[in-house]
Assembly symmetry: C2
Homo-oligomer: 266 residues x 2
């Protein structure tokens, strides 16, 4: 295998499609060998951080679900868009109008939401109604300088009952209507990966991102100077291997294989 594996001291793991496959009902199925792979990374003394664009639930909720599926994971090990957005909102004195999933609302509990001066959009799922979209639009267009913060920029994702439009599509609708550009929090935004690296205390050249999304995981991590490996699980499709702009540093069949390679080098 390539020599760069030997420099790795920290591992960033995507969650959905790498640890487990999610169901539309909030359930999910672990990917074979992944729970064991997480334990092996920790036992080897490598730094580990879970780096997800999950915005349909609070960190507490989906960490509990993953623990129930057999994963050794805690809330403090997770980098997710909503808490990152909260920090940004506090720093800049922004009061959000929220267009997010009901289960994500508690993440924003501490913030003042009266007389909003920005709109925060996440994967709102069933909350993406005609009325809610018009309302978010009216709040934005009513600002002297509209501020739109988007928790990710995914195009779509797959659930057991079929493909669903992701937050990025609705972000584009609001961007066009208001002639603004959204600020994206979450993968593939550089500050999001950088904050995950800082939380691990590992420089980018000693870190590897392992994910199933060629653009948001692999492309985003490489932009930050990290190595990035694509798993052939989750939303991976064979045509990803012909992506016009992004080429992973390696492909593996699944997380277990990535950890096999990694631990051979230590």
């Amino acid at each position: 295998m390539a020599a760069w594996w030997r420099a790795v001291r920290g591992v960033l793991l995507d969650i959905s499609g790498v640890l487990y496959d999610s169901g539309g009902d909030g359930g999910g199925t672990p990917i074979a060998g992944s729970a064991e792979a997480v334990r092996r990374i920790k036992a080897a003394g490598l730094k580990l951080r879970f780096c997800t664009n999950e915005t349909q639930a609070t960190r507490e909720e989906f960490v509990k679900k993953l623990q129930g599926l057999g994963f050794d994971i805690s809330v403090a090990e997770v980098t997710a868009p909503a808490p990152a957005a909260c920090r940004i909102l506090k720093e800049r004195g922004l009061r959000p109008h929220l267009l997010v999933h009901n289960d994500l609302v508690p993440e924003f509990a501490e913030l003042d939401k009266a007389n909003p001066n920005c709109v925060v959009i996440g994967d709102a799922a069933e909350n993406f109604t005609y009325a809610n979209l018009n309302e978010a639009f009216r709040v934005l267009i009513g600002m002297e300088k509209p501020v739109l913060i988007s928790l990710g920029r995914g195009r779509y994702y797959k659930e057991t009952d079929g493909l669903k439009l992701d937050v990025g599509a609705y972000m584009k609708a609001l961007e066009y209507a208001c002639d603004v550009e959204a600020e994206v929090v979450g993968k593939p935004a550089k500050p999001f990966f950088e904050s995950a690296l800082a939380e691990m205390g590992v420089p980018p050249e000693q870190a590897v991102m392992i994910g199933d999304d060629i653009v948001n995981d692999v492309g985003g991590a490489q932009q930050c100077g990290m190595r990035a490996v694509q798993v052939r699980t989750g939303k991976y499709r064979p045509c990803d291997e012909n992506h016009p702009h992004v080429k992973p540093d390696a492909y593996v069949n699944d997380l277990a294989e990535a950890v096999d390679i990694l631990l051979q080098q230590l």
Copy 2:
């Protein structure tokens, strides 16, 4: 006034915001002097064509409404996106999946809609549900080469109960999710204006467009080599007069003033 007015032999009129102001309930209020202005254009022997992006009702329905408000208008005088899209679909053997307003569906009655090979999106209003958007998306992404036809590209419009996102915003969402570019039928698309000119039998240099939308009416018509006048009624806003790209050939307070100027030159 400028000399070009004297060359005008044909007039294209936008409807909403020029003839009348629409209410969210399907009703509306005529703009003072507009019904008389339409009669004066016809009495002077000028060619006349109504050129609208209306897609919330069939031509029959909204013409009936305008007649009820006192306008001399017939279905044969109206150029609208849905019939134009129907012609394109027939020519190209396309079977549409429709994401449009319920009241527009009859315009597509003649077309085969089984096993769709394109998606047609209009201002679907309350039909822009999360489920309907996901369904249109799945039809599109399932095609080898997705074909998306959009009845206009407006950003938003005003009704009595507030601003509403227009078809253009939802078009952008689907474009982004499927990585395609929509084909726009309706203003400001060049073929749409050209077909209105052909129906009048007037060359562009002898035609004037009168509308309230700086981009879709004024910019679109000028792209076709026509003159274009913006009325200060409907969705006109003072900041339109500082538009970075589009400058009308004239401003008028309303349609009645445009017709005053026009008839003085004959």
